[in-house]
Amino acid sequence: MRRVLSFIGYCVLTFIGSILIGSLPGLFQSIHMNGLSYIQTIKMVCEHLTHPSQMTYSINGITRSIYPMIFSYWSYSLILLFCGFCVALVIATLLAFGTMLFPRPVIQIIKAVLFFLESIPDLLIIISIQLLVISIYQRTHTKLFDIYSFSHPIYVLPVLTLAILPGIMIYRMLILEIEEQGMKDYVDLAKSKGLTKTTILFRHIFRNTLIKTLTHAHTILFFMLSNLLIVEIAYNSQGLLNYVYENSSPDLLTFALLLFLIPMVTFLTLCRFLIKKLTGSIEA
């Protein structure tokens, strides 16, 4: 009972926090802080959240309700986010375990290169990919992917672009984690039993490492969300973040924040539940 109550309390507080953050644009009028207009904005946001049909946006002077378009934007953003996450996870896992088969000096070089790649801003990667696709098209007249969406949504290239930086992050994280696991006692035991290096790596270290990566799922997702904004704007996608970027009103901001918060919290809670089931304890 106590746990249920505290859970409800947490949900309510998170909800209030979202409204307070979403209404922040009302706090500043030009560069001056205005408490009164902040309270008015909060009131307006609450009213619009309870009567969703009042939320509107306007393009070229025509005011429309945000329904039902917002849900197609929302699903597009979520598809990009979770596909990107899965692609990054799968490719990084394959690469990391492939890397571990190389000799130690090679691994050190790969680690150094990954460290450098991690500090490249996401915008640079997106621009380079767009320019690359354009120049391939100019040279060979084959269009690999659509790089800009006008009417229909594009998926392949945004997902790939979105997956690059988190992929590098997971890749490096995995290599460090595999090295740390390699020092543990169960590996010593397995070695003393005469198991080969590949068996230990793929059967025993693999499972433990994947669980460890899932404990970092929240860091990776928050990082991806920031990338998603840049990807959506750069590809002119029909995504929710791009939509909020173009029509920035407090009620829309709050609504979008809640729309992102709910599935992500659910996903992260599932991850934690899974980890608890598998390991019997919550780490990190």
């Binding site: 926090g17 030009s30 928050f222 969300l225 909020v244 970027y245």
Partner: protein, 364 residues
Amino acid sequence: MIMTGPKIKEKGLSLKKGVIMQVLRNKKMWMSLVFIAGLLVVSFLFEGNSGQVTKLIWKNGELIGSAPFSPAQLPPFGTDELGNNMLDLLFKGAKFTIGIAVIAALIRLVFSVFIGVGLTLFPKWVQNGITRLCSPFYYLPVSLLTYILLVSVLFSSHSLEPKFSATISQRMIFELLLLSFIGVPTLLVYFKDITRQLLVEEHIVGSRVLGASPIAILRRHIWLGIKSRVVVQFVEQIIQVLILLVHLGMFQLLFGGTIIYLTPFDQKPPVYFSISSEWSGMIGSGYHDLTLYPWLALDPLIAFAILIFAFSLLREGLKESQNRWSTTKNKPQARLKQLVRISTNPSIPPEDFQPTQKQFEEVG
């Protein structure tokens, strides 16, 4: 007759060991510091001198090109539309970019450390409540929120005469404060969590049992515990602000204000101009003709990548040197293994706690 155990070494950067020695010992640290310092020095030397301007290139009495020149025509970085060498512009803007990042990171840290650590004095439900109120900040890209808050202040109205709602110094201070405070809520929760982990450690519990007041504990023990993390977080926050600046540059929100020139007669897209010569401004003004002159946006982006790399090298170096001093000269993992083995085998006391001859004499 007081038993004096071996003095516990301070964690992190201790002045006794000599900060300079620590920096010199770590290759990553001094290399990145030399790079950043060198960039700053060159940047300040470039103040009055904007470099040479190349508007047209002549060859054998024939005109072969006009600005902007690509990096191939005028190495290493090409020129902008006015013929200024991009390398000069990058050097000129470096001090602003680094300055903004350092100041914003400093403000972020000061506030979040004070509030985060101070929060642990309050009852647990207050702490949890504030954590929950701050948690939605994670689910919204920081750059989007910053954009929405800044857009009314930094964009000039669409007219031939640029009009802003505030003066330039007001705009700059407002943007700097916003860049700082937008990062405080998440950082505050981080420091609060660390402090709470430290508060249950044995030496702090012991000191509380002996009657130390909460404030004294925060001042004496907690500060020692979090000092090294504050230094690492400082560098980390500089990187975060730099990334935020890249994003704002893409949104055409240039530091100090964006002047939008709408060309009313033909159907050209608006032209954006930066007021300061700072790097994210260069991205913003180069972003709109990316396919025509890609180097205009790519040059500052590459510069950002190198600067961020230098700072992350510094962060890694700091972490390494702290591990070195806080444990022993052995590798941390090997050391941990050794300790675990000792503690699971009660017949062997850990070597650190073997009393020396002197202590035996003191005990008498």
